[in-house]
């Protein structure tokens, strides 16, 4: 008799005791938002053999997905795919690949790599007849 709504109070149960889960719902909302953000905004990249932090550049183009990538770390070590290679082998393999496509060779050198490790590679590529090269950089923020 104290309840003027009688059994309807079940449908509009404002006076219900707070559930323990209720306190978690805002957190779940935030976590889901974060999860969605990371899923949409981030990109995946294959793990690389060498630790390379590319230089920053102003250019705003998008890096094409295809083409061979040569990694050069700050000590001058070169790698292609999942193998460490010397310069001659890199050029040989690129030359063999260049026969069937006109895609640019992408060189991902560390920002601190000295040019004496990079320019001789470009020279060797020119000698092998490969003229299109792209240095991979990170867009400056």
């Amino acid at each position: 008799m104290n309840d003027p709504f009688g059994s309807n109070a079940d449908l509009f149960d404002h006076k219900r005791e707070p559930d323990r889960n209720d306190r978690l719902i805002p957190m779940i909302n935030i976590v889901f938002l974060l999860l969605t953000f990371f899923m949409i905004a981030g990109t995946f990249h294959a793990a690389e053999l060498l630790e390379v932090e590319p230089p920053e550049a102003e250019s705003g183009g998008k890096l094409p997905d295809e083409g061979p990538v040569v990694l050069i770390d700050r000590a001058g070590t070169m790698a292609m795919g999942d193998e460490r290679l010397d310069r001659e082998t890199v050029v040989q393999r690129l030359k063999a690949m260049a026969g069937d496509s006109a895609v640019a060779v992408r060189v991902k050198a560390d920002r601190a790599t000295e040019v004496r490790f990079v320019l001789p590679l470009l020279k060797a590529l020119a000698d092998a007849g490969i003229t299109r090269v792209q240095l991979i950089a990170v867009r400056r923020k």
């Binding site: 779940i28 899923m39 981030g42 920053e56 250019s59 890096l63 920002r111 040019v115 001789p120 990170v138």
Partner: protein, 185 residues
Amino acid sequence: MGMKSSTEPGFVLEGRRRRSVVSMAALIDFTFILLIFFMVVTQFDKFTPVDVTVRKTPVKTLAGPQPQDVKTEVLHLRIKADGFFELDGEDIGDIVGFTGVLAHHQPPEKEAAENKPLLLVAPDGDVSVQLLIDTMHALKALPGFRIRIVSKEAGASAAGRNAPPESVSDWQATGDRSSPRENDQ
């Protein structure tokens, strides 16, 4: 209340109604694991290409065949590892100021492309890739030059590193400054 609990024994416990049947804790655990996975794995770096055209051209022929009366000016820009620049052996400051000095060497009016002064950029061997790219970007402000990166033949050896730019080898790497990608900012 008591009657309800007896008709729905699996869902209502002892007269206390619960809103959710499944506990939220498992969902939160799972979501956190997904969140941590994506936070660790995703990268936000946007990669961009810096186009380079490499050519095998002897430096002596870079200026091209010249008629007797027209002579293409050739300037040598040396990049030193400490970030300073030398123009034909003369110190012209660092990355902030060197373009101002170079601007004085630009032809006053628009000349034909083949007659623009040739600027040979010769980085020392221990110059970083970052400095080379920054230099090429700074040189974009000077459309009056034809710009070529040259490297010394003995670039890999310490002895050849500090040789004067005259010892450039017979090849060139061209920073393709006019590529649509670079202008696409």
